[in-house]
């Protein structure tokens, strides 16, 4: 075990170095695919922070992604901001939104929180379509052309690493323990003196930043966004299924799930374009019914793995 633990850091270092060098040798498709995987790791990891740790199911997490995407795109297109600044602004916008929404909604319990989050997504889409002057409405918003895939690759990669590192830091901290206490039994947590509302709100804010930044970066990389492309419920569900597949409430679960599901989706997408959603639906059903604990959850159950995996 000690040997395994000693090997973790060097292995991580080698993996990061390899990923850092990859754009120098990789093909255009490869870099783009890796960029997407980074995005999914950041999204899935962020969802895991609120829902994996506190048990509050954010069923509209893509709202933060979309809010970041629109904030970033508007700042780049009409204010001429540089994309790194716009990405930070996207993260900030997501935090503000999370504060506005979390303040009332985190007092809701169980299914009602999930429904309120689901509704938030629909509402943002309606709002974006309404403020046509600013957002281009249903026609979408085009950004000036700029080939920044490689720099965005590094920033997105750093974001994915940051979200994962943050998850590790939280899970190993007292703050994380309190969040997990809320998940196991909120009343008991309250009785032990935990200010549950503030803890949930803090986790919610942290879980919104990553999607906000990722949204702005994705908007820049794709050069065009429209309401349907940045607010689909399917994106929320994809990040959730990635976390479930890998293991809810773990550090590496979202990473594992994002990579595995992305690869599966790419293969399925390429082979069966017409029935892709049908197969995706089948994957969701299979993950929910057959492996609710996820790969790492099962491994933790079978072998006495550390909680910090």
């Amino acid at each position: 075990m000690r040997l395994a633990r000693a090997a973790v850091l060097p292995a991580l270092g080698v993996a990061l170095l390899a990923l850092a060098c990859y754009p120098l040798v990789g093909t255009g498709y490869g870099v783009r695919a890796a960029l997407q995987v980074f995005m999914w790791i950041a999204l899935a990891g962020s969802w895991n922070l609120i829902s994996g740790l506190t048990g509050y199911v954010s069923f509209g997490h893509v709202a933060f992604f979309g809010a970041g995407a629109y904030t970033g795109a508007i700042l780049i297109a009409s204010r001429g901001w540089s994309w790194p600044a716009a990405a930070l602004a996207g993260g900030a916008a997501a935090i503000v939104l999370a504060l506005l929404i979390g303040y009332p909604c985190l007092r809701l319990k169980g299914p009602y929180f999930a429904i309120a989050m689901l509704g938030l997504n629909e509402v943002l889409r309606a709002l974006v379509s309404y403020f046509e002057g600013l957002t281009g409405g249903g026609n979408g918003l085009s950004l000036p052309t700029l080939d920044a895939t490689r720099p965005i690759y590094y920033v997105m990669g750093a974001l994915a690493a940051a979200v994962t590192a943050l998850t590790y830091a939280i899970i190993t901290s007292r703050f994380g323990l309190r969040l997990m206490t809320i998940r196991e039994d909120e009343v008991a947590a309250e009785a032990m003196g935990i200010d549950t509302f503030r803890h949930k709100l803090a986790a919610f804010l942290l879980s919104a930043v990553g999607p906000g930044i990722a949204g702005a970066l994705t908007a820049r990389d794709q050069g065009y966004i429209e309401p349907l492309s940045v607010f689909p419920l399917a994106v929320t569900v994809t990040m959730i299924v990635m976390v479930l597949f890998g293991g809810k409430g773990t550090v590496w679960g979202p990473v594992l799930g994002a990579v595995a599901l992305f690869v599966i989706q790419e293969i399925v997408w390429a082979r069966y374009p017409y029935v892709h959603p049908l197969l995706f639906g089948a994957i969701i059903v299979a993950v929910v019914l057959l492996m609710p604990r996820g790969v790492l959850g099962l491994l933790q159950l079978r072998y006495r793995l550390p909680r910090t995996i």
């Binding site: 199911v57 007092r107 319990k109 309606a126 479930l244 017409y274 959603p277 639906g281 929910v288």
Partner: protein, 284 residues
């Protein structure tokens, strides 16, 4: 103008109530949030469309056919998949029914194509004084009210209806009283799907039919059951009428696009102030 708006609000409100009642039943009895409710409605609309366009049936005669067909679909879904997530945390039921939902939409896209379809029947309107109302909407209103009332009556008076309400109040006690809870779940899902199908069949005459028409109905049904109180079945009627009026009034004073926003703000407010709905409690 306001009169016109109130009339349209009430007319669409009954349809909301009809569709939402199905969702409320499933949630009340099984604690399952059924994201696939809208797509089931879409399938109902297609049943009407094909019977009308291929066999030339009167669209209103197809309502029972659509209901029967979707009853079977609902029972099969419950039998094969949904029964596994009854009582599971809400995440499981949300994801499972979302999976079913995209599968159904994709199936419809492949089988029926994404073309917009329409049932062109009763396109004229009646004018009463300054008001003008489309005939199809009035008939849909009457049907919706009748079906919702029939469902209430069924739940209130028949043995099966009582068993359904008993199961939603307490599964354990229902079990002790000799109610076959698994069978009740199955029938409830079938009945709920049939109600969604009835809504779809009535809508087929009013709006364009396409595979993705259902999504917004899932959302609206949530609004309705939250407004009326989840698990409170008469509340669905109140919630439906309220949503219809709010939508129409906000489209009069603001714009149509913002009516969803207004409805959502209302949803969050109601959840915070009266989490058990405007009528309160589970008065089943």
């Amino acid at each position: 103008m306001v009169g016109q708006v109130i009339v349209s609000g009430v007319l669409s409100g009954a349809l909301y109530a009809l569709v939402a009642l199905g969702l409320a039943l499933i949630f009340g009895v099984m604690r399952v949030i059924n994201i696939a409710h809208g797509p089931l409605l879409m399938l109902g609309a297609y049943v009407t469309f094909f019977l009308y366009s291929r066999l030339g049936l009167n669209p209103y005669l197809t309502v029972p056919v659509a209901m029967a067909a979707l009853f079977v679909v609902g029972v099969l879904l419950q039998r094969t998949l949904v029964f596994r997530v009854v009582d599971a945390p809400e995440l499981s039921s949300l994801l499972l029914t979302f999976g079913i939902s995209i599968a159904l939409v994709n199936l419809a896209q492949n089988l029926f194509t994404s073309d917009l379809r329409a049932v062109e029947y009763l396109t004229e309107s009646w004018s009463v004084g300054p008001l003008s109302v489309s005939k199809a909407r009035v008939i849909a209103f009457v049907f919706a009210l009748g079906l919702t009332g029939g469902a209430f009556l069924f739940l209130k008076t028949t043995r099966l209806g009582k068993a359904i309400r008993a199961t939603s109040q307490s599964r354990e006690v229902a079990l002790v009283c000799g109610i076959d809870v698994g069978r009740i779940h199955m029938l409830t899902f079938g009945l709920a799907s049939a109600l969604a199908a009835a809504g779809g069949a009535l809508l087929a005459v009013i709006v364009a039919i396409q595979p993705e028409m259902g999504g917004v109905w899932t959302f609206k049904s949530f609004l309705v059951i939250v407004l009326g109180g989840a698990g409170n079945y008469p509340g669905a009627l109140l919630g439906g009428l309220l949503l219809g009026l709010v939508e129409q009034l906000s489209s009069l004073f603001l714009t149509t696009q913002l009516s969803e926003v207004v409805a959502y703000v209302l949803l969050v407010l109601v959840l915070l102030v009266r989490p058990s709905g405007l009528l309160g409690g589970r008065q089943t």
